[in-house]
């Protein structure tokens, strides 16, 4: 029987389609329970250790809320920028908890933690590598709002080079055989290795452009992420790229009627705030799905 019990969630690359569907179905169940305000105690006496070596509001708080909604409790380390000796920290903290949530700036940190820990590890972002739980929220949102993921035209817009959310989602969209458009400034393109891997493994159609308008035209889903100035040596150049690579109302004139726009939040300037009020904006709904999806993950891993 398919089970994620005691399994670490490190990378979308590790998950089979059936396992992703199991999480999405469980999230559906959790959402219904939340709506009915059913009291939930399935993780009573279970402890989540939340280890964040980088600032995060949404991921940290939503996991914390998810654990408490399921009757469990949360222990945290004080936010620390000292990223050294991860092994020692994991070896110590695993004794106090049932599951570890880890956000760390070094790529591969979550996989290393999972290998040395007796307790399952959930990757809450490892540098620019992976952010699998955000991807599960994204997939849940698309499935919920569009009824399916297969064969949808999904455009990923923004920083496709450094952003872990985009890399995880790109791979997952391959698993679900969506038609993918990658739109980014030339400096921030998805790596050729990633494109080749997804194309060859899943046989999906991938279209690459640096023109936002062409990424919007046929899209059913427009997934936008910000461009960080820190990734550029020249701040002026970064600001120029940010301004040029922005979703504005006039760009949506030729969009499909039922287009949905998603964003991992919080936004900066990449989406014109006037779009928040339109029927296209679904990012607040997407953020709302963070709770049932993370409850589903904790529940399947810890129960």
């Amino acid at each position: 029987m398919l089970s994620l019990q005691n399994k670490s969630i490190i990378s979308i690359r590790d998950l089979k389609k059936e396992e992703i569907e199991l999480i999405l179905d469980k999230a559906e169940e959790m959402e219904n329970k939340l709506k009915k305000k059913e009291p939930l105690y399935s993780l009573k006496n279970k402890i989540l250790a939340s280890l964040f070596f980088e600032p995060s509001t949404k991921t940290r708080l939503s996991f914390s809320a998810a654990m408490q909604k399921l009757g469990g409790s949360v222990i945290e380390i004080e936010y620390s920028t000292t990223v050294k000796n991860l092994v020692d920290k994991i070896k110590m903290i695993e004794n106090y908890c049932d599951v570890i949530l880890l956000r760390h700036p070094r790529e591969g940190s979550a996989r290393l933690a999972a290998e040395i820990s007796k307790k399952p590890v959930i990757n809450a972002g490892d540098g620019s590598n992976q952010h699998p739980t955000q991807t599960l929220i994204d997939l849940f949102t698309i499935r919920k709002l569009k009824g399916k993921i297969e064969n949808l035209n999904v455009s990923l817009v923004g920083d496709l080079k450094y952003n872990a959310v985009m890399k995880s989602l790109f791979y997952a969209l391959g698993i679900f055989k969506a038609n993918i458009t990658l739109a980014s400034p030339p400096e921030l393109q998805m790596s050729w290795e990633n494109i080749e891997e997804v194309r060859d493994k899943f046989g999906v159609k991938i279209f690459q452009t640096n023109n936002i308008a062409s990424a919007i035209e046929e899209a059913d889903v427009l997934y936008v992420c910000g461009i960080k100035k820190e990734n550029f040596l020249d701040v002026f150049e970064a600001e120029k790229i940010q301004k040029n690579f922005r979703i504005t109302l006039d760009l949506l004139e030729n969009a499909k009627e039922d287009l949905i726009i998603l964003h991992p939040l919080p936004k900066e300037i990449e989406i014109d705030s006037k779009i928040d009020e339109t029927k296209f904006a679904k990012y607040y709904e997407q953020a709302n799905f963070g709770l049932p999806v993370r409850m589903a993950i904790l529940s399947l891993v810890c129960e």
């Binding site: 990378s11 790529e107 591969g108 620019s128 590598n129 990633n194």
Partner: protein
């Protein structure tokens, strides 16, 4: 001058031939031959009909096993391994690229956890054989062999 006239033959041990010139030192390190008790020779930049220039390693009183041989595949995929017993070539062993390569070269991604945690050992999974592409097991980035070397 031929190689035979520079270095004497060995009675028992291993000869690793057809190593691309300049890679012999790396293979010497990977196989930790500096820790070996017997006589060991690293011949650099010797003449080769096949390669133009090549490196050769001769190790006395040590038969290099399959696991060790495969470690060198990354740097010398066409190397030939001869096991010598009683001055004769008793066995020829082939270098084969393993699916997983551990602890041979460090990850070129400076931000990979294997470059900052002492306990973490480097590990690459062969993604593609021709041209050779390796994916770091930890940071999941893909590298060509020239980036890793």
């Amino acid at each position: 001058m031929s190689e035979q006239r520079i270095v004497t033959n060995i009675e028992n041990g291993t000869v690793i031939d057809h190593i691309p010139a300049g890679k012999g030192k790396k293979i010497f390190e990977i196989l930790k031959l500096d820790e070996h008790d017997g006589r060991t020779v690293l011949l650099i930049n010797t003449f080769s009909k096949k390669l133009g220039r090549k490196d050769v390693i001769k190790v006395e009183n040590k038969e290099i096993g399959e696991k060790e041989i495969n470690k060198i595949a990354l740097f010398a995929p066409n190397a030939t391994i001869s096991i010598i017993r009683n001055w004769e070539v008793a066995e020829k062993r082939k270098v084969e690229l393993p699916e997983v390569i551990e602890n041979v070269a460090s990850c070129p991604n400076k931000n990979c956890i294997t470059n900052s945690e002492e306990m973490a050992k480097s590990k690459f999974v062969v993604e593609k054989k021709d041209p050779l592409k390796l994916r770091c097991w930890y940071c999941e980035k893909v590298f060509g062999i020239e980036e890793i070397m």
